[in-house]
Amino acid sequence: MAKTGVLIELGDGKVKETNFGVLTAARGASGDNEVCAFVMNADAEAIKSELSAYGASKIVNITSSGDLGASPDLQAASLAAAAKEYGLDALLGLFSATGRDIFARVAAIMDEPMISDCISVDIDGKTGVKSHFSGKTFATIKLDCGIMLATVRPNAIEPAEASVDAEVISFSPSVENNSTVKIIEVKKGGTEKLDLTEAPVIVTGGRAIKASENYKMLEECAALLGAAVGASRAAVDAGYAPHSMQVGQTGKTVSPKLYIACGVSGAVQHFAGMKTSKIIVGINTDKDAPIFAKCDYGIVGDIFEVVPALTEALR
């Protein structure tokens, strides 16, 4: 039985859905690992039931006198201190913008090896499976470590509930922070849309979308699916969509349950970002488009006919 910590990410005070897969992984193959969930300066009581439903028996609220939110180095130092305090065998988190920034700092502080963006982890074996070469290969990496550090690709591990009794603990590490890295402002994106990397379903529009206003058609369909809307690089480069919507090697890596690619040819660099999706659907006018060789279900047709019909069928 191992002792595993998970850094929980909150959005507007709520636990992001993507944390549940990480908690599931933290319980280990046998399912009997002791799981500590770490939150920072949060209302831990308010999220206790959600976290314990996925197996967290300790919910540790890390508090600090300094401005935790403004300093990734202070967050990392505090988390590293907590990992020591609770004698963890492993510490997991999400491969999200926050997770990857904090975990790499933790790994550097603790001088431990780390595996980024795992699609599966084996805590007992201290191994993880991750993409190498932009999704073309899977690498199994084994760590020779004191504590196993790993980030997990959002949605890559299916969450499974396993309710336990949980206690809430407060931990105030005394850490020094003389880092000059300071977050001075957070600019909202204008839209409060679901982040692509967290979305359980994604509808993507490629170059075939032809104009930015045509993304409305995809948004209508996405709304019914609880989906986020993505774009190919060709669509981004043509100015139809902002870079924050780009899926692929130079954009975001996503792993939703369902990925619907509309008017996307299926280039390797696009696949690099969505290959580990559970189900991929391609819609393309060209029956020979490469996407059809690499997806699960295909529809040969014009997105301007197929997408509205799909939206209708979902209503």
Binding site: A104, A107, A139, D296
Partner: protein, 256 residues
């Protein structure tokens, strides 16, 4: 102003990766390039030096073959390079960091070190953070906008749903570049010719007292990603196809 830019020699993302044995791939069979994210760091370095004066030094840890990649970075405007020479292509990132640190310290600590946000071959997403800790300087990664004002750098990073963080740090520091920072230039023919004469200092890894086999993250297995065998194509009119799809996604795949 002295700027170091850490550049990894990686297979082109369009290259086919032919596996060889349990952990290897045929690296002689694919085209190698400057890691695409490092290229944004390189472009930024060169344009900063064009504005403020100084020099751009490329630092690479890799096989002898990386020389070609270094030359292409030089064609983009880097002045000289240090190649820490290894035998193998897979190197644990903590070892890479040790090598980068030793090479950079030996050369004299720069004002700014650029890296990419991550490498596209091993996708480690950590070397720059380790290097910062080892050198005792700050690091900000995934930077898509930068302003340097004396010894202060103000940066923007995208953090999801189009949200952006504005971050500042004091230099010397490490900046991990990503798309959006700039548009890397295409070298012109005279630049390519000039690059051939620029100096590359080659240092074997062992000369820095680093044992290539001492990595704590070990590649156990490299395998091709399971490919989908081709789509099940839906048939009939648009309405029929869509109805079939919805039924499959709901009842068979249970994803909606």
């Amino acid at each position: 102003m002295k700027i170091c830019v850490c550049i990894k020699h990686v297979p082109d993302t369009a290259a086919n990766i032919k596996l060889a044995g349990e952990q290897g791939f045929e690296d002689s069979e694919c085209k190698f390039v400057v890691n695409p994210y490092d290229e944004y760091g390189l472009e930024e370095s060169v344009s900063l030096v064009e504005k403020n004066g100084g020099e751009v030094v490329v630092v690479t840890v890799g096989k002898e073959a990386a020389t070609a990649t270094i030359r292409s970075a030089m064609a983009m405007g880097a002045h000289r390079a240090i190649l820490v020479k290894t035998e193998g292509q897979f190197l644990d990132s903590a070892l890479t960091c040790k090598a980068l640190k030793a090479a950079i310290e030996k050369d004299g600590t720069p004002d700014i070190i650029f890296t990419g946000k991550g490498s596209v071959d091993t996708e480690g997403f950590q070397t720059q953070y380790r290097l910062a800790a080892a050198l005792g300087i700050p690091v900000v990664n995934e930077v898509s906008k930068l302003t340097v004002d004396g010894s202060k750098a103000v940066m923007e990073r995208e953090t999801g749903s189009g949200e952006r963080e504005v971050v500042e740090m004091t230099l010397p520091g490490i900046i991990g570049a990503t798309k959006g920072l700039n548009e890397p230039r295409y070298p012109k023919f005279p630049d390519i010719m000039k690059a051939k004469k620029k100096p590359i200092d080659v240092i074997p890894l062992s000369d820095l007292g680093i044992d290539e086999g001492a990595g704590k993250s070990v590649l156990v297995k490299l395998e091709a990603t399971p490919e989908r065998s081709g789509a099940k194509m839906l048939e009939g009119s648009v309405t029929e196809q869509v109805a079939q799809l919805v039924k499959i996604l709901k009842e068979e795949e249970k994803v909606i």
